[in-house]
C-alpha cells in the first residue's frame, strides 16, 4: 500500500440545464483544462484516464471514445465506469486502485453528463432494466396498479416509499425535508458550479412547490444538469512535487444490495429506507481509514441526495448521528456552513445533478474544503477529515470515500 492524494480539481465553467454552446467532448475538454490549470500538469504527466458517465441519459454508448482527444487521452490506457449515480465515485475509486497498486503514479478521472441532449426519464428507465427484470421475476406487474405505475413520478416514485419509511422511523416530518431543501438551495447560491441556487430559500418557499407524490415535493427533487468534472490523483511521492495542498485518500469502500426497490441484502423486498449497503460501506471505509468514532473524527460531510430527505437519512446511516437525530441537528442549525457538522456546503445533488459527475463532486467538494479552496462555500470550522457519500446503482449501491489533510500513517 502507498498513499494517494488529490492534487487537482476542474469543473466546466457552469452547471446549467442546457449548454447549447458546447458538444459533449467540448464540455469534457473544459473540465480537463480547468483541472490542468488547477495543478499545473499537462497531458504528458497523466499515466491513465478513468472515464465515467451513464450512457442511457444521452444514448451515446461509448462517449469515452468520442471524447478521447478532448480528454487528452490519446496513447494512454482508458477505462470506462458506469454504476448509476455512484459512477463518479466508482471512477475515482478505480483511479485510486490504479495508483495504490503501484502500477501508475498520476491518474485523471473524467466525468460528465449532458442531460439536455437526452431524455432523463428514458435514461432512468434504461438504468432500472435489471430492477424491472427482478420485479417481473417476483411477479410484480410493471404497468398496472400493482407495479411501478403505482409508484408514481418515475425515479421520484420509488423514493417516496423510502421517505415515508424514514420519517416513520426517525420522527422527522415533511417540514424537516422542506428545511433541508431550503438550506441546500441557499448553500448552492454560494457555489459558482451549482445549478439551482436561491439565496433567499426558506422552508415556507419550498413548501409552496407542488406535491409530486407524498412526501416528495417539486422543491425536494434534483434537477437534470449539463456539466463535467475532472479530478487528478497522484502517488505520495509525485503529489508532494505537484501541489502545495493535497487531500489524501484514507479509506474507500462500496457495497451493493439486490436489484430491487427494497432492501434485498436480507434476500427479500423490504424497507427501501433500510439501505444496509450504506451502513456496510461506511463501516468498511472507517475501518480502512482507521476511524473509530466518525462523530468525533469527521469534520465535514458531502451526501449524495438526489432527493432532499436523503441528506438527513444518509447522515444517520453513515453513522454521523443516531437514527432520529439528523433532523434535530438541522433544527439546531448544526448542518449549516457555520455549524458544528456542516453538510453539503456545495448545495448537494439536490441542487446540481449532472449524474456522471454527481458522486465525484461529493469527493472533490470534500477535497476543496480540506484544501481551503472552497471559496464562498468554505465552511467556518477547520476541516481535517471529510466523508463523501455516493448513492446509485438502482437504489442499492453506495460508495464512501474518506479524505484527510495529511497522508495516512502506513
Amino acid at each position: 500500500m502507498r498513499n494517494v492524494g488529490i492534487v487537482g480539481v476542474g469543473y466546466c465553467p457552469r452547471f446549467v440545464s442546457k449548454r447549447t454552446d458546447v458538444c459533449i467532448p467540448e464540455m469534457v475538454s473544459e473540465a480537463v483544462e480547468a483541472a490542468f490549470a488547477d495543478c499545473g500538469l499537462g497531458p504528458e504527466d497523466i499515466d491513465a484516464v478513468i472515464f465515467g458517465n451513464m450512457h442511457p441519459f444521452e444514448g451515446v454508448n461509448m462517449p469515452h471514445l468520442w471524447a478521447v482527444e478532448h480528454m487528452r487521452a490519446l496513447g494512454k490506457p482508458v477505462m470506462r465506469i458506469a454504476t448509476g449515480g455512484t459512477t463518479g465515485m466508482t471512477a475515482f475509486h478505480a483511479a485510486y486502485y490504479h495508483i495504490v497498486s503501484g502500477l501508475h503514479d498520476v491518474v485523471m478521472v473524467v466525468t460528465f453528463e449532458k442531460h439536455s441532449e437526452g431524455d432523463a426519464q428514458v435514461g432512468l428507465l434504461g438504468i432500472i432494466t435489471p430492477e424491472a427484470m427482478a420485479m417481473m421475476m417476483a411477479g410484480i406487474d410493471l404497468t398496472g396498479a400493482g407495479g411501478m405505475g403505482a409508484q408514481g413520478g418515475g425515479s421520484a416514485g420509488a423514493i417516496t416509499y423510502q421517505a415515508v419509511s424514514w420519517m416513520h422511523k426517525s420522527g422527522a416530518t415533511i417540514d424537516h425535508i422542506d428545511a433541508i431543501a431550503a438550506m441546500e438551495r441557499r448553500n448552492a447560491a454560494r457555489n459558482p458550479y451549482a445549478h439551482l441556487k436561491d439565496p433567499e430559500a426558506t422552508p415556507e418557499k419550498i413548501a409552496k412547490t407542488p406535491m409530486i407524490s407524498y412526501p416528495v415535493r417539486f422543491g425536494h427533487v434534483c434537477p437534470t444538469t449539463d456539466g463535467a468534472t475532472v479530478c487528478i490523483l497522484a502517488s505520495e511521492e509525485r503529489a508532494a512535487k505537484i501541489a502545495d495542498k493535497v487531500a489524501w485518500v484514507w479509506g474507500v469502500a462500496s457495497c451493493a444490495s439486490d436489484p430491487t426497490t427494497g432492501n434485498l441484502i436480507e434476500g427479500l423486498i423490504t424497507d427501501p429506507a433500510e439501505q444496509r449497503q450504506c451502513v456496510i460501506a461506511a463501516q468498511e471505509a472507517y475501518k480502512r481509514a482507521g476511524i473509530e468514532d466518525p462523530k468525533k473524527e469527521i469534520d465535514y460531510v458531502e451526501i449524495y441526495n438526489g432527493f432532499a430527505h436523503q441528506t438527513l437519512m444518509y447522515l444517520e446511516l453513515v453513522g454521523m448521528c443516531e437514527v432520529g437525530e439528523a433532523h434535530k441537528l438541522l433544527e439546531k442549525g448544526e448542518l449549516e456552513i457555520s455549524g458544528r457538522l456542516p453538510v453539503n456546503a456545495s448545495g448537494g445533488v439536490v441542487s446540481t445533478n449532472a449524474i456522471g459527475t454527481s458522486a465525484l463532486n461529493r469527493v472533490t467538494e470534500c477535497a476543496l474544503q480540506i484544501m481551503g479552496k472552497a471559496g464562498e462555500r468554505q465552511v467556518e470550522k477547520e476541516v481535517h477529515k471529510a466523508l463523501a457519500h455516493g448513492w446509485g446503482g438502482l437504489m442499492q449501491y453506495v460508495s464512501i470515500t474518506i479524505l484527510a489533510d495529511k497522508p495516512k500513517k502506513l
Partner: protein, 146 residues
C-alpha cells in the same frame, strides 16, 4: 454565443428480448384463481417469500416449499401520488403502499382504496379480490382497509 448543431437520434428499444424465471409468478397466479396468496418458504432459514423465488437469496440454496399466506397485512410504507410519470397532474390522488402480509417476510406494492387522509404506517389492510378471478395480476383489485 454560437450554438452547436443538433442532430436528432433515437433508440429502437422494442427489439430487446429478455428471458426471465417465471415459476414464482406462475405459482402465485395459480393461487389467485382460488383467491389465495402462495409463496415459497426456505427450508433452511424459514424465510417466506411472496412471490417465491426458487432460490433463497439469503442461504444460496434451492428452495421449493409452497406456503399459503394470509391476504391480510400491515402497511409498512406508502405514498399519495399527485403527478404521473411525466409530471402531469393525476385526475385524482392515488394512494399506494408496501404491505407486509401476515406470515410473509416480503413486502408487496399496490394501490390502496382509501381516503388519502387515512393512510398511515401500521394500517391494517386486506386484498380486495375481483369477483371472478382468472389467474392474472388484475385479480388483485386493490388493498382495502380491514
Amino acid at each position: 454565443m454560437e450554438e452547436t448543431r443538433i442532430v436528432h437520434g433515437y433508440w429502437e428499444l422494442s427489439t430487446f428480448n429478455f428471458n426471465i424465471e417465471a415459476r414464482g409468478i406462475n405459482l402465485m397466479l395459480e393461487g389467485f384463481k382460488e383467491k389465495k396468496l402462495k409463496g415459497i418458504k426456505c427450508h433452511q432459514c424459514g424465510m417466506v417469500y411472496l412471490p417465491g423465488p426458487f432460490y433463497c437469496r439469503k442461504c444460496h440454496v434451492n428452495i421449493d416449499e409452497p406456503v399459503e399466506i394470509s391476504d391480510h397485512g400491515t402497511v409498512r410504507t406508502y405514498t399519495v401520488q399527485y403527478a404521473d410519470i411525466r409530471g402531469e397532474p393525476m385526475p385524482e390522488p392515488r394512494v399506494s403502499a408496501m404491505v407486509q402480509f401476515d406470515g410473509c417476510d416480503s413486502w408487496v406494492m399496490g394501490v390502496v382504496q382509501c381516503d388519502p387522509k387515512d393512510i398511515h404506517v401500521g394500517m391494517r389492510v386486506k386484498i380486495k379480490w375481483k369477483e371472478q378471478t382468472v389467474g392474472n395480476m388484475q385479480d388483485m383489485e386493490a388493498f382495502v382497509p380491514e
